[in-house]
Amino acid sequence: MTVKAGKPKSRLDPEPLPRRDFLGLASLWATAGALFFAALGMLRLPRTAVLSSPSKKFTASLPDNLAEGEAFVPPGRATAIFKDKEGVYAISTICTHLGCVVKPSAEGFECPCHGSRFHPDGTVAKGPAPKPLPWLKISVSGGKVTVDEGTTVKEGTKV
C-alpha cells in the first residue's frame, strides 16, 4: 500500500486506515490483558497470608484465692476467667460494638469507649453494643486452664 507523498489533502480529512486492523487490535488487547492480569496478581500481595499475632489458644493457671464472680484476666489477654461452684468459664472482654477492651467490674463489664454495659454473664445491659460478649471455649487440666480465644461456645457453658 505504497502511497506517494506530496499530495497534501486537507488536515481535516480522515486518514485512510485499514478498515480492520486485526493485528493492532489483537496486540493492544493482549497488552491490556497481560497488564490487567499482572495488576490482579499484584493486588494479592497486600493481603497478608500469615498474621504476626500469637496463637489464639493459651494456657494460664488461676490464682488459688479467686473468689466467685471475680474476674481473672491473664496478662496480655482479652479474656476474663471466672470460677464458681459449677466450674470455670471464660468470657471475651472485647466489646461487640467497636472492639474496645471492656473492664470487668462488680456489676459486670463496662466499656470505656462508648458506654456499653454488660451483665456478669456477658449480656448487654445498656449502650450501643449489639451482641452479648461471647463465651470462649475453656478446658481444665492439672490445675491449669486452656482458653481458645478463637472458638466461642454457648452462653452458660462451664467446665
Binding site: 499530495k7 497534501p8 489533502k9 488536515r11 480522515p14 485512510p16 493492544l28 497481560a34 494479592r44
Partner: protein, 523 residues
C-alpha cells in the same frame, strides 16, 4: 428576600425532572466525552489532539520522524530503561508493604517476603532483575547516544542530564543493596562506605586529615555512624525509596522534555531522503514550513529545531510511536519476568559485623572499580571514576564537528576505527591485568613504598594513561576530536568489561585470582 424571588424561572417543574433523567441517562456518554475530549484519533488533527491533550503523552511530539522509529536508530534502549524503572517503581512500592527498615527485623521481613507473602518472592525477584536490566539498559543507551554522536549540538546538555540519570541509577541500585541486611549487603556497603572515605588516602599523606577530612565526612554523612548499622540502614532506605527516585523522576522529565525541544532524536541531515517515501499519505497539520516556533504562550525569538523544517519524513506519533514504545515496555517486562521466574534474588546469612564475607563483592557493575580499588581505594573508587565522568561530560563541548551525527559510529574513522579500538582496549586491559596477576604490583616488590606513589601509579592509572595516549594519537592521525573520542570511549568500555568480568568470575577469597569458583578453598 421574600418568597416571590424564590420562584423558579422555569414555568414547568416537571421539565426539570425529565431533564434530570435525560442527563442521568447521558452521564456515561458525557463522562467519556469529558474524559477524552477528542473523538477517535483517525485524522491527523485528532491524533495530534490526542497526544497533546493527554497529560501522559504530551511529552511526545505529535509527529515523529521515521528515522527515529527505525529499530536500528535506538534499539529502544531509552524506553527500555524507562520501562525497567517503571517496573522497579511498581514492584518497589509493593515490597514496601512488608519491608521494615530496622536492623533487627529487616532480614526477617525479606524472609517473609520470600516465603509467606502472596506473590512476594516473584515480586522481589522482578524488582531485583528489573534493577539489573535498568543498569544494563542505561549503560547501553549511553553507548548508543555516544556512538551515534547524539550528544552534539543542540543536545549537549541533555547528554549531561543523561549522565546524571546514569549515576542516579547506579546510586539507586547500590542503596537497594543494603536493605536485605544480609552478609552480602553488609560487606558490600562497608566497602562502599570506605571507598567514600578514601580521600583520606591523600589527606593522610599530607597529614591534614585532622582538620581537613572530606573522606571522613563523606562516610559520616553516608552511614550516620562510624560503622554500618541501624543509622546507615535508615539512610539508605530513605535514599532508595525517596530521594533518589525523586531525583531520577525529575531528571527523566527534563531528559524527555529536552528530547522534544531539541527536535526529537538525533538524525543525519539527509535522514528524510534516506528513509525514503512514506508508506502513508502525508496529511500535515502545517501545510507549509513554519518560520516561527510556537512556544506555550507566545511567539518567541530565536531558532529552535522546528524552524525551517516541514513535516516531511514524519508520521503521527499516535499510533506509530506508541506501538513502538508499548512493545519495548512489554519486551522489557517479558525479560524481567522470565529472569524472575528462573532465578531467585540472592539472600545470604544475616549480617554479621564480626565475620566478613570472603570474598565480599560489590554489585557486579562496581566490580570493575573493585578490581582497581584493590590497589588504591582513592584512585580506583573515586579518582578514575571522577576523571571518566568528567571526560564524558566534556565530550559534547570538545567535539563540535558535524560529520556523522545520528549515524552509528559516525565520524572520521567510523566502524574500522572502533573495531581496532575494541582490540586495543581489550588487549591493553588484559595485558595489564595479566601482568598484575602474574607479577604483582609495586607493594609486592618494594614493601616500604609510600602510598602516594601507589595512589598515582597503579594498574588503573596505567590503563587510563595507555588509553589516553592512544586517543591522542587518534586525534592527531585523523585530525578529529571525534576520532579520539570514539577510540577513548570504546577503550574504556572494553576496560570496564574486562575488569568487571575478572572481578565477577575470576576473583575469589582474599581477592586472589582463580580460574573458576570451583578452585576456591573449600569451606
Amino acid at each position: 428576600m421574600n418568597q416571590a424571588d424564590q420562584q423558579p424561572t422555569h414555568s414547568q417543574p416537571t421539565d426539570a425532572l425529565s431533564e434530570f433523567w435525560k442527563n442521568l441517562k447521558a452521564a456515561p456518554r458525557l463522562l467519556k466525552e469529558t474524559a477524552f475530549r477528542t473523538g477517535k484519533p483517525t485524522t491527523d488533527r485528532s491524533r495530534s489532539s490526542f497526544v497533546f491533550g493527554n497529560v501522559f503523552l504530551h511529552l511526545h511530539s505529535v509527529r515523529t520522524h521515521r528515522w527515529s522509529l527505525r529499530w536500528s536508530t535506538t534499539m529502544g534502549l531509552g524506553i527500555a530503561s524507562t520501562s525497567a524503572f517503571l517496573i522497579t517503581l511498581v514492584t518497589g512500592i509493593l515490597l514496601m508493604f512488608y519491608y521494615k527498615p530496622y536492623t533487627d527485623v529487616a532480614y526477617q521481613s525479606i524472609k517473609d517476603l520470600h516465603f509467606v507473602v502472596p506473590t512476594g518472592r516473584f515480586i522481589r525477584n522482578i524488582h531485583r532483575w528489573a534493577a539489573n536490566v535498568m543498569v544494563i539498559c542505561v549503560m547501553l543507551h549511553m553507548a548508543r547516544a555516544f556512538y551515534t554522536a547524539a550528544y552534539r549540538k543542540p543536545r549537549e546538555f541533555n547528554w549531561l542530564i543523561g549522565m546524571g540519570l546514569f549515576v542516579t541509577t547506579l546510586g539507586l541500585s547500590f542503596t537497594g543493596y543494603l536493605l536485605p541486611w544480609d552478609q552480602l549487603a553488609y560487606w558490600a556497603i562497608t566497602i562502599g562506605a570506605n571507598i567514600a572515605q578514601s580521600p583520606r588516602e591523600l589527606t593522610d599523606i599530607h597529614n591534614i586529615t585532622t582538620w581537613f577530612d572530606p573522606g571522613g565526612l563523606n562516610r559520616l554523612i553516608l552511614l550516620g555512624s562510624d560503622k554500618v548499622g541501624p543509622e546507615a540502614l535508615i539512610r539508605f532506605y530513605l535514599l532508595h525509596i525517596m530521594i533518589l527516585p525523586l531525583v531520577l523522576v525529575a531528571l527523566m522529565a527534563v531528559h524527555f522534555w529536552r528530547i522534544r525541544k531539541d527536535g526529537g532524536l538525533a538524525r543525519p541531515a539527509d535522514a528524510t531522503e534516506r528513509v525514503g517515501e512514506t508508506l502513508e499519505p502525508v496529511q500535515p497539520v502545517f501545510t507549509e514550513k513554519p518560520t516561527k516556533t510556537y512556544h506555550l504562550a507566545a511567539l518567541v525569538k530565536g531558532r529552535t529545531p522546528a524552524v525551517g523544517n516541514g513535516p516531511e519524513g514524519t508520521v503521527p506519533s499516535m499510533p506509530h510511536l506508541f506501538y513502538v514504545e508499548l512493545s519495548v515496555l512489554m519486551v522489557t517486562t517479558l525479560i524481567c519476568l522470565g529472569l524472575a521466574l528462573v532465578l531467585d534474588a540472592p539472600l545470604k546469612e544475616l549480617a554479621n559485623p564480626s565475620v566478613p564475607e570472603n570474598p565480599a563483592k560489590a554489585p557486579w557493575y562496581f566490580l570493575g572499580l573493585q578490581e582497581m580499588v584493590a590497589f588504591s581505594a582513592f584512585m580506583g573508587g573515586i579518582g578514575i571514576p571522577t576523571v571518566v565522568l568528567f571526560g564524558l561530560g566534556l565530550i559534547p563541548f570538545l567535539d563540535r564537528e558535524k560529520a556523522g551525527t545520528g549515524e552509528w559510529f559516525g565520524g572520521p574513522g567510523g566502524w574500522p576505527l572502533v573495531k581496532r579500538s575494541i582490540w586495543i582496549g581489550l588487549g591493553a586491559a588484559l595485558l595489564v591485568e595479566a601482568f598484575v596477576i602474574r607479577f604483582g604490583w609495586l607493594r609486592e616488590w618494594f614493601p616500604g613504598i609510600p602510598q602516594l606513589i601507589i595512589t598515582f601509579v597503579n594498574p588503573g592509572t596505567v590503563l587510563t594513561l595507555l588509553y589516553a595516549a592512544y586517543s591522542v594519537w587518534l586525534v592527531r592521525k585523523w585530525n578529529s576530536t571525534r576520532a579520539g573520542a570514539l577510540g577513548l570511549f570504546t577503550c574504556f568500555l572494553c576496560g570496564f568489561l574486562v575488569l568487571t568480568i575478572i572481578g565477577t568470575y575470576f576473583r575469589g577469597p582474599n581477592w586472589e585470582f582463580f580460574w573458576s569458583p570451583a578452585d576456591w578453598p573449600k569451606h
